[in-house]
């Protein structure tokens, strides 16, 4: 009998799904799902962990403190290459904007030859910029990449004219635009979406039911988000996700999508980019990387 209850309690902690979130718009459905009780409705115990930097999140994931998290294809590729068994399970809705500074009156990326554009190196940010350059038949050499990893610093430098342009994730992009900068291009516009959910293979195997339940709750949250006026939930989201208050006025929420497999095209572009830059040697196929737990 005691044996039984010990097992039970172990199972109880085992069935908790630990998800790492970032202060970006990709994470918003999770916050809604928790706040609106969708996880509970689906009978799954989800523990949301908020991180302030991608590295903290990845460290927590790789050290087994998380089952999965809001991440991106490049991070997933790196993890796979680093020997960690992670799988992408769905795409998330995020957006990355190339924003030009107030004093910079260029209209398109073509006009930006020789300008200082700030990114964080070897991340989704740089990837997005490179894709934009490629679409415009430009190369890295045409512009001047300035590495500033901290997003608020990048924003500040841009707003104060120390940079010609910067790639910023939402909602920082919208805030910069509201403060007088202007949008040149965005990942949404280019229709590449490298934002994904990742899970460790362990969790995928041992907690597949929980993950499926979590996705049902996610989908409910997406539906809620798409059908509810922004004002109704924005305060809560800003508070919980750690977004700037200015988000409320600056950001128009994107249309969220129900959980779906990541785009094959986006992955191929990602892995190609990783290979070309010599950041990852192997060419992992889409199937290597994706677990279609959603359709199983």
């Amino acid at each position: 009998d005691t044996q039984q209850s010990a097992d039970n309690s172990k199972n109880a902690s085992d069935t908790t799904l630990k998800i790492g979130l970032m202060p970006d718009i990709d994470s918003i459905p999770f916050i809604i799902a928790e706040e609106k009780g969708f996880f509970k409705e689906e009978g799954v115990n989800v523990e949301l962990q908020h991180f302030k930097s991608a590295m903290d999140r990845d460290s927590a994931l790789q050290s087994g403190n998380l089952d999965g998290g809001v991440s991106d294809m490049l991070a997933a590729g790196f993890a796979k290459d680093g020997g960690f068994d992670v799988k992408m399970t769905s795409m998330t809705d995020g957006n990355y904007c190339l924003v030009a500074g107030t004093a910079n009156n260029v209209q398109s990326i073509k006009d930006m030859k020789g300008q200082n554009i700030s990114v964080s190196k070897n991340t989704i940010i740089e990837f997005v910029l490179d894709q934009m350059l490629m679409q415009n038949q430009m190369t890295e050499a045409d512009i001047n990449k300035t590495v500033i990893p901290q997003i608020p610093t990048r924003l500040e430098m841009l707003q104060n004219g120390k940079l010609d342009a910067a790639v910023l994730p939402e909602p920082m992009g919208s805030i910069a635009i509201k403060n007088g900068c202007h949008l040149i291009n965005s990942s949404e516009e280019m229709q590449i979406n490298p934002g994904v959910m990742v899970f460790t293979n362990d969790s995928l195997q041992n907690k597949s039911e929980e993950i499926k339940a979590m996705y049902r709750a996610y989908n409910k949250a997406v539906e809620y988000l798409n059908n509810t006026p922004q004002e109704e939930y924005m305060d809560l989201v800003i508070e919980k996700a750690g977004l700037p208050p200015a988000t409320k006025d600056a950001l128009t929420m994107p249309k969220y999508h129900e959980a779906a497999l990541p785009s094959k095209d986006a992955w191929e572009k990602s892995i190609q980019w990783l290979n070309q830059k010599g950041l990852v040697k192997e060419t992992y196929s889409y199937d290597d990387m994706v677990s279609d737990i959603l359709s199983k």
């Binding site: 962990q49 790789q62 050290s63 403190n65 608020p152 977004l243």
Partner: protein
Amino acid sequence: MKHKSIYFYIPAIVFLLALWYVISLIVHLPIIPSPYLAIERLIDIFSDTIAIHAFYSFWRIVAGVLLAVLIGVPIGILMGYTKKVDTILAPLVYLTYPIPKIALLPILMLLCGIGELPKILMIFLIVIFQVLVALRDGISSIPKEMFYPLYTLGASFKDIFCKILWPAVLPNFITALRVAMGTAISVLFFTETFGTKYGMGYFIMDAWLRVNYLDMYAGIIVLSLMGLCLFGILDLCERYFCKWNR
């Protein structure tokens, strides 16, 4: 050193605020708000918000520094006192001190999860070296004649420790604590950013990411005052325990 009363902090505070104000006027950007606004914000949110963060940080600092003292002091004293121990341990210290402890975060998370323990351990890891090196160097600079009276009394190590090593190294120890405390406060910023919603490090980082500079500066003021308190306590300890040195 001595004779600092609360009374001398006022001009310092006024000076810093004035400096800050002038810079805020010159720069005239939200990134450097006027100190007046920051203080107003601080008063606004102190009791509901910041107090609990400060409390968490305080406990982590105290725990981390205490742990560093408990482990660093005996090792430092042994290294300073016994040349053999120093010969063996010094290379270990020299090799491990420069390792950026933050890079060990994944390992720490692996071993201790993401709760309180890794945060306290991180403070401990960063601070212990400063304590250890300062104590070692302090002990090894005690003139050896100082030990003679105790040697001829056939004193045990415990006696030598109580009567010479500890009182002699106390001023160094207090200096080391000062440095360690300052360091501990300023690394909160990295240690409190994961797995918690509390702590001044979290609060400031969060404010920064929210581009909420007023909150951020309110947090910095609190850290600064927290440091002041801890340093003030140390000064009092020094005045009390190192009377003979005045």
